[in-house]
């Protein structure tokens, strides 16, 4: 199993009620697999998983990417700085 930290920002944090969570995922889980697992385990985040942006170790990551060991994952909505 792979132990990862997931940081949540903006609407994702509000919905989850927490800034970060530590979760266990099977080895070789992809970003899509991670989203599926979170949608299943955290009902409040299920809808958000459809449009969420994901970064792994501070780079944008896409559905087919495999989540590396001990990754720092972040989940957030499309950005709105400026």
């Amino acid at each position: 199993m792979n132990h990862i930290k997931v940081l949540l920002f903006a609407t994702l944090r509000d919905r989850a009620g927490t800034k970060s969570m530590e979760i266990e995922i099977p080895d070789s889980t992809t970003v899509q697999g991670l989203k599926d697992q979170i949608a299943r385990d955290y009902p409040n985040l299920k809808q958000a998983m459809e449009t969420v942006l994901i970064s792994i170790n501070r780079e944008y990551a896409f559905d087919e990417a495999v989540v590396p060991q001990n990754a720092e994952v972040a989940m957030f909505p499309p950005v709105s700085g400026g």
């Binding site: 920002f9 903006a10 509000d14 501070r58 972040a74 499309p78 950005v79 709105s80 700085g81 400026g82």
Partner: protein, 163 residues
């Protein structure tokens, strides 16, 4: 000064933006022009598409609350600066700074500034590109708070692989 030593400033800060100080940091002996963009909090927003909205139709904003994923945001600001240098090699200094926290109307929230030897070098376009890219790929979010409650402002851009 060699291009490899040109100053590049990128940061997320909770402090007031000091526009003069930032400009001084990207001004070289060879600099003759600076394009400076700064965005600020609007206290009232007209209805979309209307240039003649009456006061009563405007949406009021008490303040905006900004947050950022700081280490990734600063890395992405560096990437935006690199993209500017790739497209406009004549640009000398670059500053990209976003203020976060609670920001009230008429307060500058962000600064993008590019300097060059002359104004006709593309320096205006470079600064414009910088703010456009910041709004696309730098992980910063804002929540608008006003008399009718609060809501998150969501962007529209989905980064592509390699961004």
């Amino acid at each position: 000064m060699q291009p490899s030593n040109f100053p590049t400033i990128f940061s997320i800060t909770e402090s007031e933006l000091d526009l003069n100080d930032l400009l001084a940091k990207i001004t070289l002996p060879s600099t003759g022009a600076a394009a400076i963009f700064t965005g600020m909090v609007r206290g009232e927003t007209s209805r979309r598409g209307s240039t003649q909205a009456k006061r009563g139709e405007a949406r009021e904003t008490a303040f905006l609350e900004y947050e950022a994923y700081v280490p990734m945001a600063e890395a992405k600001m560096k990437q935006v600066a690199d993209e500017i240098r790739e497209r406009w090699p004549v640009v000398e200094g670059i500053a990209i700074v976003q203020r976060i926290g609670k920001l009230y109307p008429q307060t500058p929230t962000v600064l993008i500034a590019c300097t060059a030897a002359h104004r006709d070098t593309g320096v205006f376009d470079a600064a414009r590109y910088g703010i456009d890219r910041l709004k696309e790929i730098v992980p910063i979010w804002k929540k608008e708070v006003g008399p009718n409650g609060e809501f998150w402002v969501e962007g529209e851009y989905t980064p592509k692989p390699g961004e």
